[in-house]
Amino acid sequence: MPTLLPLFPRGWAHYLGGGALIGAGVSLIYVSTGAAAGTSSFFSASWSWASGLPFFRQARWREERVWRLLYAAGLIAGALLWRLETGTSLATSVAPWRLLVGGLLAGFGTRLSGGCTAGHGICGIASLKRESFVAVPVFLLTAVLVAHLLP
């Protein structure tokens, strides 16, 4: 598909394959436990171990915090397995302040909106949730815009 090359200069198969693996992970959790496994709720759920704020003391977080912690551990373990198996080492040169400030905004925004790229983007669309069909285009367009405005 030579005409598509400019759109996917690094190829396309690993993107689709990786995406299918992500979908398989989320689907496994849904079929076995019924939970829509977004990833950003991990952060709110984990604050229930440490924070006394009323929001974090809701029963919901206590019920979810163990499996969400193990879910996060799985994400790290999966990546670690991949690194050990393939011997690939990845690096990034994005500045720490950008990661910290970007993470802060993303963390606040995703919790306010009720989902991130996984919660709204994958689980929400797969559940045909109305709010996800609104949230996904909004965050995609904002992110493209912000990336273009910044050096």
């Binding site: 689907s27 849904y30 019924g34 604050w47 799985g74 910290l100 970007g102 919790r111 306010l112």
Partner: protein, 145 residues
């Protein structure tokens, strides 16, 4: 052994989440979405691979999320298929815009931030700290309303 509500025991649920997380983390590495540069290349429209990742993941999930509740009475380990407490309001939109701004600034969202630590992308620890702080600020905001 199941709890009174029929939900699977905490550690059984956790084991399923761990297994699903491992697949998710592998997928983020195979697709290279753990590297902020790959995400930022998408946001600059230089490599649209992220759309294939999102499409592949959502495609698989769409089939399963739609078929499972019809084919099974309950999830395999017990409990029920979650009718997610979804609500569409101003916060959905404003929150998504703030999330998008942060994502556009750093090229990292919650899944890749965590998986990045396993992949040896140590600077993503900054993003994890930021995400945790952002989630705390949201908790503060939501507690004071």
């Amino acid at each position: 052994m199941k709890s009174e509500t029929g939900a699977p025991p905490v550690l059984v649920r956790g084991a399923a989440a761990l297994a699903g997380g491992i697949l998710f983390g592998l997928g983020l590495c195979v697709s290279r979405m753990v590297r902020p540069e790959i995400v930022l290349d998408f946001l600059h429209l230089r490599d649209l691979g992220l759309l294939l990742v999102l499409g592949g993941a959502t495609g698989v999930s769409l089939v399963v999320f739609q078929l499972a509740p019809r084919a099974l009475k309950a999830p395999l380990l017990g409990g029920r298929f979650e009718p997610h407490p979804g609500r569409l309001g101003a916060e959905t939109v404003v929150g998504a815009a703030i999330f998008g701004a942060g994502w556009g600034l750093c090229g990292v969202c919650p899944g890749p931030a965590l998986a990045g630590l396993g992949a040896g992308l140590w600077p993503l620890g900054w993003a994890v700290l930021g995400l945790a702080a952002g989630a705390w600020l949201h908790g503060l905001y939501a507690s004071r309303r």
